[in-house]
């Protein structure tokens, strides 16, 4: 279990983190979410001892994190994080050895990982000559090559095409299943809501939501009613003052149904007013949960 306890940090007058606490259990793919500037990268740097927090600490297996423990962690910073001109394989061996792996074991591990990630024939290639997707996989390999117990990834999905997102998330899911503790950050809340099991959501340096994604979405009590409706205006909605329109495009209508209002009553009213050719009931998305958690002031990208 990885535990973050009461971490606060300020750059001069600007407070970036304010008493952030959460747990990352082993075997649960956990996302650290929040808009740009929420303090995610700073928090990760503090977890790795790159920055010293002004208060709080990170604990691993119940103990404060030591530099010896950090050697068994892997970190993948946002973008790049590789020597542009150093051959891919040598680079992995070098990083593994910095984490205390001996040369032979490092070479074996680098070969296995490159094989697994489809980079087997790229050992001598320079990273700056690799395609975006391959560079991303090499970077992941760099974080995994020393066989870490904990891996922390900063915005691993940013800028990836859907196929690459899929590949990366299934690689991470494999590691989680094998018992690794995995934490990754993202500002694309809706992209990752189906990828991670558990989330911690930060805004302005504070934790605003924490828990299993399924629980959070179900427990909010809010529902969204999706309707494809012809032959009616929107006048029938006045009967439900608490229901708000999320989206309204020609025939497609998406409504936010707050707790205490029966979505089926709304559906019935719609069917009376016009012809409903399709409908569905959805749980709120992570960005909607985020919005309702922080109020309308926050801007979610």
């Amino acid at each position: 279990m990885l535990q973050v306890r009461g971490i606060s940090h300020a750059f001069g007058e600007r407070e970036v983190l304010d008493g952030v606490s959460f747990d990352v259990p082993a075997g649960v793919l956990t996302g650290l979410l929040g808009p740009n500037g929420a303090g995610k990268t700073t928090l990760m740097r503090i977890m790795f001892g790159v920055l010293d927090p002004q208060a709080g600490e990170t604990r691993w297996q119940g103990q404060p994190v030591t530099s010896a423990a950090l050697r068994r962690w892997g970190y993948m910073p946002q973008e790049r994080g590789l020597y542009p001109a150093m051959p891919a394989g040598d680079q992995l061996v070098y990083l593994a050895r910095l984490h205390g792996v001996d040369k032979d074991a490092a070479t074996r591990s680098a070969r296995d990982l490159m094989e697994e990630l489809g980079l087997a024939d790229r050992w001598s290639e320079r990273p700056d000559k690799l395609s975006g997707g391959m560079a991303q996989r090499l970077q992941l390999a760099a974080a995994l090559v020393h066989g870490p117990e904990v891996i922390v990834l900063d915005e691993p999905f940013a800028g990836l095409d859907p196929v690459a997102v899929d590949e990366l998330s299934s690689t991470l899911a494999d590691r989680v299943r094998s018992g690794m503790t995995v934490l990754f950050s993202s500002h694309q809340l809706d992209l990752v809501q189906d990828l991670c099991e558990s989330i911690v959501m930060l805004n302005d340096g504070r934790t605003v939501l924490e828990g299993r994604v399924a629980d959070l979405r179900a427990s909010s009590g809010r529902r969204q009613l999706r309707l494809t409706l012809t032959g009616s205006g929107r006048g029938w909605l006045t009967a439900f003052p608490s229901v708000t329109i999320v989206e309204d495009r020609v025939d497609d209508l998406r409504l936010d149904i707050p707790p205490g209002t029966d979505p089926l009553a709304v559906l019935d009213a719609a069917r009376t007013a016009g012809h409903v050719s399709d409908f569905g009931l959805d749980q709120p998305t992570l960005s909607q949960l985020f919005m309702s958690a922080v109020g309308d002031l926050a801007v979610v990208s």
């Binding site: 750059f11 740097r45 950090l70 001109a85």
Partner: protein, 394 residues
């Protein structure tokens, strides 16, 4: 962290930056060019006939065989050539000397010497003439040719030069050592700066900082690039040193030069370390690698001014208060001291003190640089000012 694991991580960083250099094409080309320069210094003078001087003796009619034999033998021993010019009469001899066609002219009992003639040659001509005259007198006095020959072969005492140490040859060595030091420190300093800028802008620095201390990354890079530059300096120096040690190397360097060159290498290492940490910590302020040049500008300017000061001001008066200050102050000492030392006026205690001060400064700069480096590396997205990351006073 134990010392051994500190060294282990530092060694890995150094080895990586060394192999990075070995892979770089720029690096290989510069090394090849340096090797060619080193070899050119040794071989060009021979190819171009070296700087073996040739003197000309003008005489009325052909030169006497006895004088010629003696002068040729002297030339062979002292490393100069002699040419002979037969002129029609006394006036023609005088004319040839005045016009520069001859170094020395002989007519009857008069020896014409150009006012700028090298001191040794006229003396040798005079000796040859005197020897010829005395041989004639001795023959008349009844000595046999064999006895005269024995008299002529009495060797003169061995000559040892004991003039003041401040000689021009050594000063020239100091000048050359100065240029090489300057170029070596500038070149390697920029390489360190590029390395630090690259590690920061690619965010590798964060991965490294998660497992290494800033001092390990910094010192590792400084050692790796230092070795690389030292190897290049050796590539430049080896042909010259070999030529100096092999007999008849054809290089006319003063005998003290080998020591001066050795001291130059020591000063390179000290100066390199002092400046390397300055280059590294200022380069850590950049956001993009293209900003490295302007970020290290203050250090570059100090280095250029130091060099210019050292080669212009110090040789003018190596013992002036300014020269002494420059050779003691840790930032200027690495270039000012070798030049002052080569001029031969520095007491050993000054040399040692100056080295000690520079080494102590390098150690302080390593600590200071590590702090700046750690703070600057984690602020990305904009270029930093030095005072934003200066360690606070505690």
């Amino acid at each position: 962290m134990s010392t051994s694991s500190w060294w282990e991580g530092t060694r890995l960083v150094a080895a990586r930056s060394l192999s990075d250099g070995a892979r770089s094409r720029t690096m290989r080309i510069t090394t090849l060019i340096l090797l060619l320069i080193g070899m050119a210094v040794v071989f060009l003078p021979r190819v171009l006939g070296g700087d073996q001087p040739t003197y000309t003796l003008a005489t009325v009619g052909p030169v006497s065989p006895a004088v010629q034999t003696q002068l040729d033998a002297a030339g062979q021993a002292a490393g100069f050539g002699v040419e002979y010019l037969g002129a029609a009469d006394t006036q023609a001899v005088e004319f040839a000397v005045r016009e520069g066609d001859a170094t020395v002219g002989l007519a009857d009992t008069i020896m014409y010497v150009r006012s700028d003639a090298p001191g040794a040659f006229p003396v040798m001509v005079a000796q040859a003439v005197v020897a010829q005259e005395s041989a004639g007198l001795m023959l008349e006095a009844g000595l046999t040719a064999e006895q005269i020959g024995r008299l002529a072969s009495i060797p003169p005492p061995d000559q040892v030069e004991v003039g003041p140490v401040e000689d021009e040859g050594r000063a020239a060595v100091g000048f050359v050592v100065g240029i090489i030091l300057y170029m070596g420190i500038m070149f390697s300093g920029q390489m360190i700066a590029m390395n630090v800028g690259m590690e920061k802008s690619t965010r590798i620095a964060e991965v490294l900082l998660a497992v290494l201390r800033p001092s390990q990354i910094l010192v590792g890079n400084v050692i790796g690039i230092g070795i690389q530059t030292l190897v290049q300096l050796l590539v430049l120096a080896v042909p010259i040193v070999v030529a100096l040690t092999v007999a008849d190397g054809g290089l006319d360097l003063p005998s003290v030069a080998a020591g001066d060159i050795g001291l130059g290498v020591a000063w390179f290492m000290i100066g390199y370390v002092v400046y390397a940490f300055l280059f590294a910590s200022t380069a850590a302020l950049v956001d993009k690698i293209t900003e490295v040049g302007s970020a290290i500008m203050p250090v570059t300017i100090v280095l250029v001014l130091t060099y210019v000061g050292a080669v212009v001001l110090v040789p003018m008066d190596p013992n002036s208060p300014l020269s002494i200050t420059m050779s003691m102050f840790p930032l200027t000492a690495p270039m000012a001291m070798p030049i002052r030392w080569a001029a031969g006026v520095v007491p050993v205690w000054q040399l040692l003190l100056s080295m000690g001060l520079a080494i102590a400064t390098a150690a302080l700069l390593a600590r200071f640089g590590s702090r700046v480096y750690q703070r600057a590396l984690v602020v990305t997205g904009r270029r930093l000012k030095l005072r934003e990351v200066l360690p606070e006073r505690t």
